[in-house]
Amino acid sequence: MRALSASSPLSALNRGPLAYVLLTAYLLLTSALLLTNTRTSLGTDILFILFLLGFLLIYRARVAGLYKLALGAIMLLAIVPYFGAQNAYYIELAIQAGIFVALALGLNVVVGFAGLLDLGYVAFFAVGAYLWGIFSTDQAAQFLPGFTPLAAESFYLFLALGLFIGAFFGALLGLPVLRLRGDYLAIVTLGLGEVIRVLAVNLDRPVNITNGSQGIKSIARPPLPDVMRTLLPGLSDPQLYQLLIYLMALLVVGLSVFVVYRLKNSRIGRAWEAIREDETAAIAMGVPLVRMKLLAFAVGASFAGAMGVLFAAKQQFINPPTFDLLRSIGILSMVILGGMGSIPGAILGGMLVTLLDLQILPRIATELGALKRQGVVIPDWFDPAQYQRALFGLLLIIMMIFRPEGILPDQRRSEEMHAGAPARPSGGPDQSN
């Protein structure tokens, strides 16, 4: 992306009609290659990543906004689904990425905008997941005698309900931490997040609400609209379901982007930023701290609630370990990696970490394993599969050293991080955006 910045020699490529041609050519090429190589392999992995890189190019390219929108829509609504129909692994990847992008966007509201370090964010994801999990199965009958599982159609209602329940829980867990700042806030939210998980484990007695550590099985999927069957007659039901979930995830992500973008540029977003900068000054300027902090917690949690509903429907099975602290930290690392307070950053961070987690690192491990079997000397103690997390950690550390503000930082955050650093000549690595 830096190659396209104004000050670099390559910026000539990102100007005028040439930008249109190059961007379109890149997207056509990667799309074509992707659609002709649908078998899961290292090559396809690389193509998939190159294809996804196209989104970054769209974002950075100097072309008309409408053109960007059209390109993005074609990629998301035509090429990814078409490719995904050929290979279930990659659409699953896209769905996961979508889920985590929405979570990163939500956490970004709390951590990036309002500066409230929240380490228990996954709790709201759990609340959404259990909401649909409980009421779409006969689990609810365990504590509501005579309750029959809701029809699959009510999924859509629950997707919306997830927003509100998430927001409600966000505000609820926000209440006890209103007076805390910084590290203290982080510790208490961490605890509250764990409370939700522990509740999920233990609320099977005396009244069985969550079915404890066994989790909830056979959660309903949203019903397939007839339109999809008639429009795509060649696809099997599992493929159609995946496609439907993908589209739903896209919908929630789209909604999240819209909401955070509008709020960031509003009176509310300014109040959040002011709180992040200086609470005392903010309240002295008439910003009601309590209301604005609760709003940040609620808005942030709402996306997680909705995505939780979708996640439960996708997995059809949920259990408490899915919602542990590591998950919260993972989401936080997406926000930080992408650039705190930055909307494109949160999107990129969510995609990148998901890809690293589910695709790139496992792929490196398999390839290394294959090399080993072919006789390349890799010491026995080095089991690539076990070093995935270490590699991820290493990447994070390298990022924090060389680009502490994240990959696509908020303009201001970038300056903050490099304040005091000697001015770099234009075209230097960190002046590009």
């Binding site: 509003s266 300014r270 900068e277 309240i283 002295a284 008439g286 201001r412």
Partner: protein, 256 residues
């Protein structure tokens, strides 16, 4: 009376930071609060603006009691302030700083902001317009898109005043507005404070160390020492008050 603080006391544990201080301020006046370091001036400001709740005493503003209200509620009633050690929103632009000051005067809620209703759009536009007017008033309109932290010191002080003005106050509390300024900047600051009152009709209370500033612009002066009020009156009365001279210069100074 615009402001009527009655017997305000604030203690921190055993320390009496503000001790039974009463202060009345007429609308449209410029009043100074002076005193040696640690006399409790800033604590008194913090009590007036709701950052601290008074241990005892009442504060009436514009005829209504504001004792114990939250800072944002007090700001809403019409008291604005600046801080001794400038507290701008450093990583926001100059314009955004002023817009945050307008928070309490704008109505855009969650849904309005999400759907960007015509009302919200119009409100944002007029808020921006007013913010530019305020910046012009303090002479910062050309720097509206700079980050607050990148402004030179004097400009930061001025931005703090513009931000405080954005809350549409009746009364503005300035905590050492000329601290750290050179004589020329101080002169400009005095001019600006006068204009606040003369052109915008805002009542001003300032904490100030620079006696030239105090004597030049205040109509009344209140002197605090060890948390208690030791003198009150016109500048020339204060200048010759033996107790005040003693508080500042120590015992013996009066005789000498």
């Amino acid at each position: 009376m615009l402001l009527d603080a009655q017997h305000v006391t604030k203690t921190f544990g055993g320390l009496v930071a503000v001790n039974d201080v009463s202060l009345t301020v007429e609308p449209g006046s410029i009043v100074s609060v002076i005193g040696p370091n640690g006399a409790g001036k800033t604590t008194f400001f913090n009590v007036l603006t709701g950052i601290y709740k008074p241990t005892s005493g009442r504060i009436l503003f514009d005829g209504a009691e504001i004792t114990g209200l939250r800072p944002d509620q007090i700001t809403q009633r019409g008291i604005a302030r600046t801080f001794q050690n400038i507290r701008l929103f450093n990583n926001m632009t100059v314009l955004e700083n002023v817009l945050v000051g307008m928070h309490g005067r704008l109505r855009a809620g969650l849904w309005g902001s999400l759907f960007l209703t015509p009302a919200v759009r119009a409100e944002e536009q007029s808020a921006r317009k007013r913010a530019f007017e305020l910046l012009a008033f303090v002479g910062l309109e050309r720097k509206h898109s700079e980050l607050a932290k990148n402004l030179p010191y004097g400009d930061q002080r001025r931005l703090e005043i513009a931000r405080a003005m954005a809350t549409q106050p009746k009364l503005i509390l300035l905590d050492e507005p000329t601290a750290g300024m050179n004589p020329q900047e101080t002169g400009e600051a005095i001019h600006l404070i006068r204009r606040l009152r003369d052109e915008l009709g805002i009542t001003v209370i300032l904490i100030e160390h620079d006696m030239r500033v105090v004597m030049t612009i205040s109509e009344r002066v209140t002197v605090l020492d060890y948390g208690a009020k030791i003198a009150e009156g016109k500048p020339e009365e204060i200048r010759n008050n033996p107790q005040v001279i003693e508080a500042y210069l120590g015992r013996g100074a009066v005789v000498a």
